[in-house]
Symmetry: C2
């Protein structure tokens, strides 16, 4: 799960590097949001995404895992795109210093 290579919605050649980067982060949400049919992730799916796709942000991921624990039932709670983006932002803030 989550290994699928999501089809890019736009022809990625024209996109700028920042647009491609944003699209990559969006695509991963859609790749892992299986139970939520691309609408939301479960905490377990988010944890899998973070574990597989953010292996080098370990020191930042620690607090992320605590955050994921607080999201509610690992299989039932819903993590919408905005929350997912905020969590990616936590990792980014941690490693941009």
């Amino acid at each position: 799960m989550g290994q699928c290579c999501c089809k890019k919605r736009k022809d990625s050649q024209e996109l700028t590097n920042v647009e491609q980067a944003i699209e990559t982060v969006i695509n991963q949400f859609h790749c892992y949001a299986v139970q939520g049919r691309k609408e939301y992730l479960t905490p377990n799916e988010l944890k899998e995404l973070v574990g597989q796709k953010l292996p080098h942000l370990g020191n930042c991921v620690g607090p992320l895992e605590e955050k994921i624990e607080c999201l509610g039932d690992p299989n039932e709670a819903r993590v919408e795109f905005g929350e997912y983006w905020d969590i990616m932002g936590d990792a980014a803030k941690c490693c941009q210093k």
Copy 2:
């Protein structure tokens, strides 16, 4: 301004695609945050980044420009990394639907 190619802090080959994407978004902040010496962007610098780096998110950028107007003095106000990440998230939310 902002055309500089920021040196990647990590050897990008080992990073996953999501980590590279996050790093790209971080690097752009540092590239454009000239006045704030990588600590913050001015609204003008943010507007330049959005104009140059998010050309295809025009329909999402509209509201972004209004948001940038509300940030305060175009040359004096400070846009910290967290706010910048949130604004990139607005563009992402708009185009991930």
